[in-house]
């Protein structure tokens, strides 16, 4: 039980993700979260605007159930499995975040500067969240996959398109982290 309450090191977490991959393929399916975004668009009536979304989303029901499970897993771990959200961040990271206005770095999973109620009620804060999501959704479907489909499955399958995508993930991520975040905040 103690193990369940402690944060897991990378050498537990990584192999556990491989286990998820194994279970999904063993069940005859695949591992890719971002395709659910299209399924949700189709359910939401996007087919009235674009023919692409007229596909029969019921064939993807299993994947929707998977993300409902993920939501449930988030709830379970929030209720019972994370007595503390304190993250052992590199002191240098905490210091650098403080310098750009992020206080209390690592004391919880999410920074208040982006995710607090105050932040989302400001126009700038709202559009930062909406814009960040927009980039994730647009980019994932443009590239044909996100971290699960490209970085985990694609790289495991030695796919060149996935390697190129992951290089793109890093170009975008480095640009945002090193240049844009200090400007935005």
């Amino acid at each position: 039980m103690d193990f369940l309450l402690q944060p897991w090191p990378w050498y537990i977490t990584g192999p556990m993700i491989s286990l998820i991959l194994f279970l999904l393929y063993f069940a005859g399916k695949s591992f890719g979260v971002s395709s659910n975004l299209e399924t949700l668009c189709a359910i939401g009536g996007a087919g009235n605007f674009l023919d692409y979304f007229k596909f029969d989303w019921r064939k993807n029901s299993w994947n929707l159930v998977f993300i409902v499970g993920a939501i449930l897993g988030g709830f379970i771990s929030y209720q019972w499995l994370t007595p503390t959200e304190v993250i052992a961040l590199n002191p240098q990271t905490i210091q650098e975040l403080s310098a750009i206005g992020f206080e209390h770095a690592g004391e919880s999973f999410l920074p208040n500067e982006i995710f607090s109620i105050d932040a989302i009620l400001s126009i700038k804060g709202f559009f930062i969240l909406l814009g960040a999501g927009f980039l994730v959704g647009f980019g994932a479907r443009y590239a044909g996959g996100c971290t699960s489909g490209h970085a985990i499955v694609g790289l495991s399958n030695l796919e060149l398109p996935s390697l190129i995508s992951v290089i793109g993930f890093f170009i975008g991520g480095l640009l945002m982290t090193w240049i844009l975040i200090p400007i935005l905040f």
Partner: protein, 137 residues
């Protein structure tokens, strides 16, 4: 009932990414700052085992529970698609500190703000399909 197994696998996924702190904005930030090995270890070890799993799938040593061969769909080729799409994704991943899986897990934690990120992601997916004939792949 045939979907119950996916609910359980999904819940396990949510718990694993929470316990591994992968859903934390800070873990993504420090990864892109190269200030911690954690995320590299997570993804690296998942891929290392994944490579072995893929070989076992292809050689038919591991079959699905129905006894069928497991086939992993190839990714679509195209430098522009993967590089530009990937870069756009990376910009959002680093800003939101969450990729699509963690977004839903964070929703289960009651993080209200993440619902705006998910809304944005749905808009992004919709807009991509609106403009895809006009952008390079």
């Amino acid at each position: 009932m045939k979907y119950a197994k996916f609910l359980i696998i999904g819940a396990l996924f949510g718990i694993v990414l929470t316990k591994g702190e992968v859903i934390s904005w800070y873990r993504i930030y420090e990864m892109f700052k190269f200030q911690s090995f954690h995320m590299y270890g997570v993804i690296g070890s998942a891929v290392a085992i994944g490579v072995i799993l893929m070989i076992l799938f292809k050689q038919g040593i591991i079959k699905s529970y129905l006894g069928e061969n497991i086939r992993v769909a190839p990714k679509r080729k195209g430098i522009s698609r993967n590089l530009i799409g990937g870069t756009i994704f990376g910009l959002g991943w680093a800003l939101a500190g969450a990729c699509p899986g963690p977004m839903f897990i964070l929703l289960g934690r009651g993080a209200i703000a993440i619902s705006i990120v998910i809304l944005g992601a749905l808009l992004g997916a919709f807009l991509y399909h609106s403009v895809k004939s006009k952008i390079p792949h």
